[in-house]
Symmetry: C2
Subunit: 246 residues, 2 copies
């Protein structure tokens, strides 16, 4: 039985302000929670699940978690969940510290102000697929601990190092490492193969900020053969990385 005050605490973690104060975030759904436990990147403080789910998964959980497992009812779970699709389990994790990035000899992904949580989560999953270990986000990029981001990473959050920083300054500090900006009228990405570089992706509607675009050593472009005005930001990131690193 979930106390009112504990339910209220968990609901507060739906909001960035309280995630920052508490230094915690929630993850929902068995697959994501088990992957985060396995990654060992985040310390789990509590798992709340239905009796049925806990019964089927206790052995797996206990490989990586010795803390409290709390049985709660499905209707209680729905009250504290941030996602609309109902899950059988919710867990609370402590945020992890970001690891400073040494970008030499690697591809690093930079995000300028991505706003949609589903896009950010999908981009983290793409980076994980292509073996990109670091994503450096502008300060106004959506929070990686937003429940929808956590969900859509499908566990990749545990394997990709995420940094929020003032991007302009950060890019200048990495010189002479080159900056490649995804933009219109640049070099066709099918001609771009790299083993080192900063790949910058812009906001869904507005693209890359003027001050960052100015810093680009090269603009890179996905050739358009039809009539769509643009591509989804996560899809564009996937296409660009596939050509650069594969």
């Amino acid at each position: 039985m979930l106390s009112k005050s504990h339910a209220k605490y968990i609901q507060s973690l739906h909001h960035k302000k309280f995630r920052d104060i508490e230094n915690c975030f929630i993850a929902e759904g068995g697959k994501v929670i088990l992957e985060l436990l396995q990654s060992k990147k985040f310390t789990c403080t509590e798992i709340l699940g239905t009796q049925e789910w806990l019964n089927s998964n206790e052995a797996l959980i206990r490989k990586n978690f010795t803390g409290p497992l709390e049985v709660i009812q499905q209707h209680e779970l729905e009250k504290i969940a941030a996602l609309t699709t109902p899950n059988q389990v919710l867990a609370i994790f402590k945020k992890a510290l970001s690891i400073p990035v040494a970008p030499e000899g690697k591809i690093n992904l930079l995000l300028d102000n991505i706003q949609d949580p589903g896009n950010l989560g999908t981009i983290i999953r793409i980076a994980d697929w292509f073996g990109i270990n670091n994503i450096i986000c502008s300060e106004h990029t959506v929070d990686i601990y937003n429940p929808k981001v956590v969900q859509s990473t499908m566990g990749s959050l545990g394997r990709v190092n995420m940094i929020y920083t003032e991007l302009e300054q950060w890019i200048q500090q990495q010189r002479p490492i080159k900056l490649y900006a995804a933009a219109l009228n640049g070099k066709n990405i099918k001609e771009v193969h790299l083993s080192e570089g900063l790949i910058l992706i812009g906001n869904e509607g507005k693209g890359i900020s003027e001050n960052l675009l100015k810093l680009a050593d090269e603009k890179i472009t996905i050739q358009k053969l039809g009539d769509a005005e643009s591509l989804n930001a996560a899809v564009a990131t996937g296409i660009i990385l596939s050509h650069i690193v594969m």
Copy 2:
């Protein structure tokens, strides 16, 4: 002022059953509606917008629409909207007939049971970007007239011909045109460049059905360099098409 019965009619179009009965669908948001009007693929029967939106856009609308423009209040619009993000305008369109596909000499995209409306909409937008004119969907693929699909196509729905059919039979009717199935352990897509072929993408969780996979002339694969278990279906489609057609 929106009548109760008309509000109810519009709300009924949130559901596939009633879209099929009425042969109509709704589109929400100025950008999507203006693009659909411009494409001339669908006949618009009615536009309901706030006074402010209609005032700013009447000239643009009137280029492609002579029917009724109805002023409604923001709170009325929210009542009839299917999307959670509030828009200033909603329109009703008649569905279009699918055009039979002549797949010779072209790349055609086949979808086996894509379930997420955002994924389907994003895939339609990707096809439009790469100049792919036809998408052939299995009968259990999510409805293209689902409001979230319409929204996430960003207008590309007006430019891509969509067919729902029994895929196994359809593929066999197109022989000798080759079927390429996106799967694990296939040929690396960076070595696959085609000007003709059927490209088959599977369901988000389950991949391609066994009976369709058996028909594939070649399996094609996005090389994995990291640890993510899978890629989002729309992202995978974008990456595959970019390597095949660019």
